[in-house]
Every structure is written in structure tokens, then in C-alpha cells.
């Protein structure tokens, strides 16, 4: 068998894995990879980013929109350390990305060579696993294992470090087939334990006031259909975490919106008053529970379905843990339910929830002076009819997107929930566009967050992406300002920008289209024009910096203890 370069093996293995797009940036120790890449550009699209953090978020956005691992390629040292924020972001939200870094030749490892960093050491706590490849012939297996580990079980990032001598060395190409990947210490459990399933069914049948706590795991596992069937058969209301939005259609009557720190009144009251919480692919994060774990759902028993055993009993002790894949476990439960189910009392439970909703709906009151971000997001929802992938950033606008945009389908709401990474939305939206080119992809950011990765405008324009960007400009770190208003007596320390770029001119400087809306009556025409203009379009919306996100559970308070919107604003 003919020998080939490690650098060629890299692309042969990517092709074997079915990868057709790589987000990357060349440099010293991966130059051989970039040299041979020209032989593969007909089959693998390399997107040249402007910053490696951008590449990682793109790969992450690609993974979130498609469900398939996203791929990053970059060199060593600063390039690798630039990926760390993106890796940690993907890990917290269980997104499968595989990062390939160049590294100094093996004989120089640990010698403080030029652009050397300990990639394995640095990324150990933020990856599911990582590999330092030492021999050329080991590269394909390490890559296949990396994709296997990233994409199975609880999805997560995996990094493969490739020293230069591995890439320029030659050997015979042997790519293991998927069924030949057998890792002794890695056997994720997908099927729920039958006795736990039985116990869960008993609890479900006994419950009078159940509620679903639907997390991101529903989306990663593709369990939407099973969840719908489950909720309809048992008439259980569905509260969603931030990451779970889209996992259950928002228009379904059983859907009661997001729970948690900025969840709906109805969702938080439902959880508090429930006698059974069924968590599916959620992890009882402090933002979803209010952080007061002792007072979370005080009258309820909890069924916790999760693919990751270490998520169970971490923050909240549960009565019925089920380790497994959400789709598989829900099917097991559905199969174990009796034909006739006594739903006595369910109607009054659902009526109570409807009452909460009617008493305290999510709302806003748009005046004639300044545009409210809530109004803008509601308008965006009406214009797109919910038929778009919305990629939000971090802060107030992120919460309003979660509250006012109604997500009907999985993988249409992408956001950095766990790590809360500002600067995520724009590159992630680009990645989503590569994954789902036929969808309308809209990045929704604030002025603060957009400034953290706008260099990728060049990448977007260079690749003729049809991508819409909405920048809500309130000249502030809005959520910081909100906390300063609520908890720091209005001491607006370092939350206001005295200087901001002219975002319209900024877009134009990169060769993109720029539009601006300042007055409420300009909003809809601007959004309409922007959404209907092909190519990269940035819509700057100047918004009222005094608007605040309600309801709010103050940090450490219990879920039923919400700060509600003052009556004069509603």
C-alpha cells in the first residue's frame, strides 16, 4: 500500500467521516495541512476565519443547527488558546465540535518553542476528551475516536493536537470503520433501566400536578416527537429551559414558556406548585431554577432523565433518576403506559396554569418615543412567522428573544446558555448558515456583544453568506445596567459606552449592507427591508436603555418570588 502524508490522512479521514466544511486559519505548524488542502477543496469547504474564536463559534453554530459535529482547524499557541472560549461555550451547552490544532514537533514538546502552548493541558477541563497524536499512523484513529466521543453520549468538544512531525511524516493510511471504534472506558448508556422506567410510570400515573422541565437534551437527542406524544397522552404542561426552546412547539396549548430567572410567571408558579417535575435533558442550572436549590419545587418529586449520570443529583436530589437518551427513554415510558389513563384533576391543574398566564402574561407597552427591544423582537417574530433560525447573543436581548420569539421547531433557537459567551451569536449564525443554507438565519445581538466578534463580517461577505444581523443598540451593557438598577442603587459603573462605532458604516466598511431604525415607526420597514435584502445585512436598531427584563427571580430567591413588571409599564 502506498504511503501518504499525515496531512493527507487528515483530509482523507475527514472525508471518511462525512465532513464537508472546516472553519480554520493557517499558521506555522499546520502549513503542510494547508498545502495539501488545495487537493481537497472540491470536496471540503474551508472557511477562512479572521480569528480562531470565530472559528470555534462557527463550528458550534454548525453543530447546533445540524446536530452533526462542527470542525475547527488552526495552528498552535495563540491560535489554540483563542479557541478556548469557544470550546468552553460548546461544552457547557453540550455541542459536539472537534478542534484540530497544530503543535510543535514531538521532540520539542515542552521546550517553550515558538508558538508552543500546552493545548492538552489547557483544554483538559473544557473538553470531553483530547488527544495528543504522536505517530503519523495513529492520526486517523485518533480523529475517528474524537468524532465518536464528541457526537455520542452527551455531545461535547474533543480536541486533537497534531505535532508537525506527525503531519509531515508518511505512513500507510488505515482508517477504522465506525463499528471498529471500541473504547474500553467509554460506553454511554442510552437505554433507561427498566425498573426505573416502571417507577417513573407509577409516579406519572399518581401525579395530579405534573410539569415537564424540558432541556437542551431533548433537542440533541431528537426527542421532539416523543415528547409531544408523551405530553399529549398524559396532558402535562411543558416549561422549557433556555436551551430547550424549540424542543417543544411554542404554539402547543400545553407549552407554558421558559422557566427560571427570566421565565414566565406561569412556568415558575407551575413548577413551584407541582407535585411531580419530569426533567428531560436538563441539568437544574442555577439560572433555570433560580439558584435556590433547597426551595425548588418544594412539593414535588422529581424524575430526572439525562444521558450524563454526573448531571443527576448534582444540584438537586431526585427521587427517580433515569440515565439514558431522552428519545429512547421517552419511548420506553410511552410503551409502558397503560392504554387507559385516568386524568382526573388534570383539567383543574391546567386551568390554574392558564389563570396564572392570563394574570401575568409576558408583555410590553411600546410608546411613541424610543423603540423597545421587546417590541422589536415581537415584530421580528411576526415578520418571519417563526420560520427562521434565530441566533441570539448574551444579555437582555437574549432573554427577550427567549420570551417573545415563539420557537416551533428544534435547532431554530441557538444561544450560549451555560457559559453566557458574549460574541457568540454572529459567528455561530454563520456556522448555522453553512449547516442549513436554505433557512433564513438571523443573528440577534446587542451593541456590546456584537463588538466582541464583528471581525467575521469580512468572512461572511467573502463567502457571500445570506445572513441577517440585528444589533440592538442601547449604548450599554444592558443586563449589567439592569442589575445596577435593581441591586446597586443605580450606580452605573462601567456599563455605558461613550464611543460606539457607527454600525451602518461599519457594515459598509466590510462590504455589507447597513440599515438603521431609530423611531418606533421605522422599525418594521427597516426589518422588512433588511430581511428581504440578499447578502449580509446589518440592521442597527436604536433601543431604549431603560427597558428591563421581567419577571426576574433575584439571585438566590425562590422561584415563586419574582420581581414583576411595574404596573405603569405593563
Amino acid at each position: 500500500m502506498a504511503k501518504m502524508l499525515g496531512a493527507q490522512m487528515f483530509f482523507e479521514t475527514l472525508l471518511h467521516q462525512g465532513i464537508d466544511v472546516v472553519f480554520g486559519l493557517p499558521g506555522g505548524y499546520v502549513l503542510k495541512v494547508y498545502d495539501v488542502m488545495t487537493d481537497y477543496t472540491d470536496r471540503i469547504n474551508h472557511v477562512l476565519v479572521r480569528h480562531e474564536q470565530g472559528a470555534t463559534h462557527m463550528a458550534d453554530g454548525y453543530a447546533r443547527a445540524s446536530g452533526k459535529p462542527g470542525v475547527v482547524l488552526c495552528t498552535s499557541g495563540p491560535a489554540a488558546t483563542n479557541t478556548v472560549t469557544g470550546i468552553a461555550t460548546a461544552q457547557m451547552d453540550s455541542s459536539p465540535i472537534v478542534i484540530f490544532t497544530g503543535q510543535v514537533p514531538t521532540q520539542y514538546l515542552g521546550s517553550d518553542a515558538f508558538q508552543e502552548a500546552d493545548h492538552i493541558g489547557i483544554t483538559r477541563p473544557c473538553t470531553k476528551h483530547n488527544y495528543l497524536v504522536r505517530e503519523t499512523r495513529d492520526l486517523p484513529r485518533a480523529m475517528k475516536e474524537a468524532f465518536h466521543i464528541a457526537g455520542t453520549g452527551r455531545p461535547s468538544p474533543v480536541l486533537v493536537d497534531m505535532p508537525k512531525d506527525v503531519l509531515i511524516g508518511e505512513d500507510e493510511l488505515v482508517i477504522p470503520e465506525d463499528h471498529e471504534i471500541d473504547i474500553k472506558g467509554y460506553k454511554p448508556t442510552t437505554r433507561g433501566n427498566p425498573s426505573q422506567i416502571k417507577r417513573a410510570v407509577e409516579m406519572l400515573l399518581a401525579s395530579k400536578r405534573p410539569v415537564i422541565y424540558s432541556g437542551g437534551g431533548v433537542i440533541w437527542s431528537g426527542a421532539t416527537d416523543e415528547l409531544l406524544e408523551f405530553c399529549h397522552r398524559l396532558q402535562i404542561p411543558v416549561a422549557s429551559t433556555l436551551m430547550g426552546l424549540g424542543g417543544y412547539p411554542a404554539s402547543d396549548p400545553l407549552f407554558i414558556s421558559m422557566l427560571g430567572m427570566h421565565g414566565s410567571y406561569a412556568a415558575n408558579m407551575t413548577v413551584t406548585e407541582s407535585d411531580l417535575v419530569i426533567s428531560i435533558g436538563g441539568r437544574f442550572d442555577d439560572r433555570a431554577t433560580g439558584g435556590n436549590f433547597d426551595e425548588f419545587a418544594p412539593n414535588a418529586e422529581i424524575i430526572h432523565i439525562d444521558i450524563d449520570p454526573s448531571s443527576i443529583d448534582k444540584n438537586i436530589t431526585v427521587q427517580c433518576p433515569i440515565v439514558g437518551d431522552a428519545k429512547v427513554v421517552l419511548r420506553q415510558i410511552l410503551d409502558a403506559l397503560p392504554g387507559e389513563i385516568d386524568l382526573e384533576g388534570r383539567e383543574s391543574w391546567l386551568r390554574r396554569i392558564r389563570d396564572w398566564n392570563e394574570k401575568h402574561p409576558l408583555t410590553y407597552c411600546q410608546g411613541s418615543e424610543k423603540i423597545l427591544t421587546t417590541y422589536a423582537i415581537d415584530t421580528l417574530y411576526k415578520l418571519t412567522k417563526g420560520d427562521a433560525i434565530i441566533v441570539s447573543d448574551v444579555g437582555q436581548h437574549q432573554m427577550w428573544v427567549a420570551q417573545f420569539y415563539k420557537f416551533e421547531r428544534p435547532r431554530t433557537h441557538l444561544t450560549s446558555g451555560g457559559l453566557g459567551t458574549m460574541g457568540f451569536s454572529f459567528p455561530a449564525a454563520m456556522g448555522a448558515k453553512y449547516a442549513r443554507p436554505d433557512e433564513q438565519v438571523i443573528c440577534v445581538a446587542g451593541d456590546g456583544s456584537f463588538q466582541m466578534n464583528f471581525q467575521e463580517l469580512a468572512t461572511a461577505v467573502e463567502n457571500n453568506l445570506d445572513l441577517k444581523i440585528i444589533v440592538f443598540n442601547n449604548r450599554h451593557h444592558g443586563m449589567v445596567r439592569q442589575w445596577q438598577t435593581m441591586f446597586f442603587e443605580g450606580n452605573y459603573s462601567a456599563s455605558r459606552f461613550e464611543v460606539l462605532p457607527d454600525f451602518v458604516k461599519l457594515a459598509e466598511a466590510f462590504g455589507a449592507r447597513g440599515l438603521r431604525a431609530v423611531k418606533p415607526e421605522e422599525l418594521e420597514p427597516t426589518l422588512r427591508e433588511g430581511l428581504n435584502t440578499p447578502g449580509v445585512v446589518l440592521m442597527e436598531i436604536e433601543v431604549d436603555c431603560t427597558e428591563m427584563v421581567y419577571p426576574m427571580i433575584a439571585p438566590g430567591a425562590s422561584m415563586d418570588n419574582m420581581i414583576m413588571m411595574p404596573a405603569d409599564l405593563a
Binding site: I120, G121, R124, P125, K128, H129, L132, I149, I183, K184, G185, Y186, D308, P309, S310, I312, D313, K314, T317
Partner: protein, 164 residues
């Protein structure tokens, strides 16, 4: 007092595995009391014996995270098992002429072996469970301990494997 846990972890003998294990402790701001790592009967496989003290729930969570690690083959919380625990210590004691007989008498009681001797010192090797080691060290302390090296606890479940 918080419970003490002896955890046995079977891992791939690869660079970086120990750092992964230790990293979980430092990430939770937890201390490892003792740690022992060596190859097992299977080539390429090492056994880590780790002793820690802390909040039960966090230790159970750490154990689950060990299980999640790709390089970890098996995790056993030995605390729940009927087991044998041993530690070996090398201890160099200041041996003045008038105290030599007493030092040797104590060593004899503990079945400590003299492994090195000089005009001014004895070095003992002693094996036992943690309490025995601790008692031996305390009894030698008045004579002047020059140096101590301990292996850390190693543990094995008894063949009957009865739960405590």
C-alpha cells in the same frame, strides 16, 4: 466530621490521566489526602488509589465524573466495601546513643524493619493501615524524625466482598 473515602480507579496508563483525575478535585476546591499510582497485572492499565475527605454529595458527583472520563475503565468507592487497606512508610529517626534501645524496641513492637543505619540515625520501613502508621510516627517523634516518605494508602476489597 465529613466521611473519608478511599476510591480505587482503574485507568489507561497514559500521559495526562493523573492530571485529569487531579483536575476534578482542584476544580471543586477539594483536597486529595493521599494518592498512589502504579501498573496493574494488565499491561497498559494502572490503578490509582485515592483518599479524600469531603461532602458526600460532591464526592459522589466526582466519582460519576471519573466514570465519564474516556481513560477511566473502572471506579470503585472502596469505602462501601469490606476491604484491606495498607500503607508503607520510610522514616529516618535521629538515633542518639542513649535512645537507641528504646527506638528499636518500639520498632520491634510495630514490626518495622531497619533498612538503613548510620552512627546517628535509623531508617525504618513499616507497613500497616493508616492508624498503625500514624501511631508509629507519633511514638518516634520525640526522638527526632529527620525525614518521612509515605506511599499513600492502597486498598483491595476482601475476596468475600461483603458490604459493610
Amino acid at each position: 466530621m465529613k466521611p473519608r473515602h478511599t476510591i480505587s480507579i482503574t485507568v489507561d496508563n497514559e500521559a495526562g490521566v493523573l492530571s485529569r483525575i487531579a483536575g476534578l478535585f482542584s476544580a471543586r476546591d477539594f483536597n486529595i489526602e493521599s494518592l498512589n499510582v502504579a501498573e496493574t497485572q494488565e499491561p497498559g492499565t494502572s490503578r490509582i488509589t485515592l483518599v479524600t475527605t469531603g461532602d458526600e454529595a460532591i464526592i459522589q458527583q466526582i466519582i460519576k465524573r471519573f466514570n465519564n472520563m474516556v481513560n477511566v475503565i473502572k471506579v470503585v468507592d472502596m469505602t462501601e466495601l469490606d476491604r484491606v487497606e495498607r500503607e508503607m512508610v520510610l522514616i529516618k529517626v535521629d538515633a542518639k546513643a542513649d535512645s537507641k534501645p528504646e527506638i528499636l524496641r518500639i520498632a520491634d513492637i510495630f514490626r518495622a524493619k531497619v533498612v538503613d543505619v548510620s552512627p546517628r540515625s535509623y531508617t525504618f520501613e513499616v507497613t500497616g493501615d493508616e492508624q498503625k502508621i500514624q501511631a508509629f510516627v507519633e511514638l518516634q517523634r520525640p526522638f527526632g524524625i529527620k525525614e518521612i516518605a509515605r506511599t499513600g494508602t492502597v486498598a483491595m476489597s476482601r475476596a468475600s466482598k461483603k458490604s459493610k
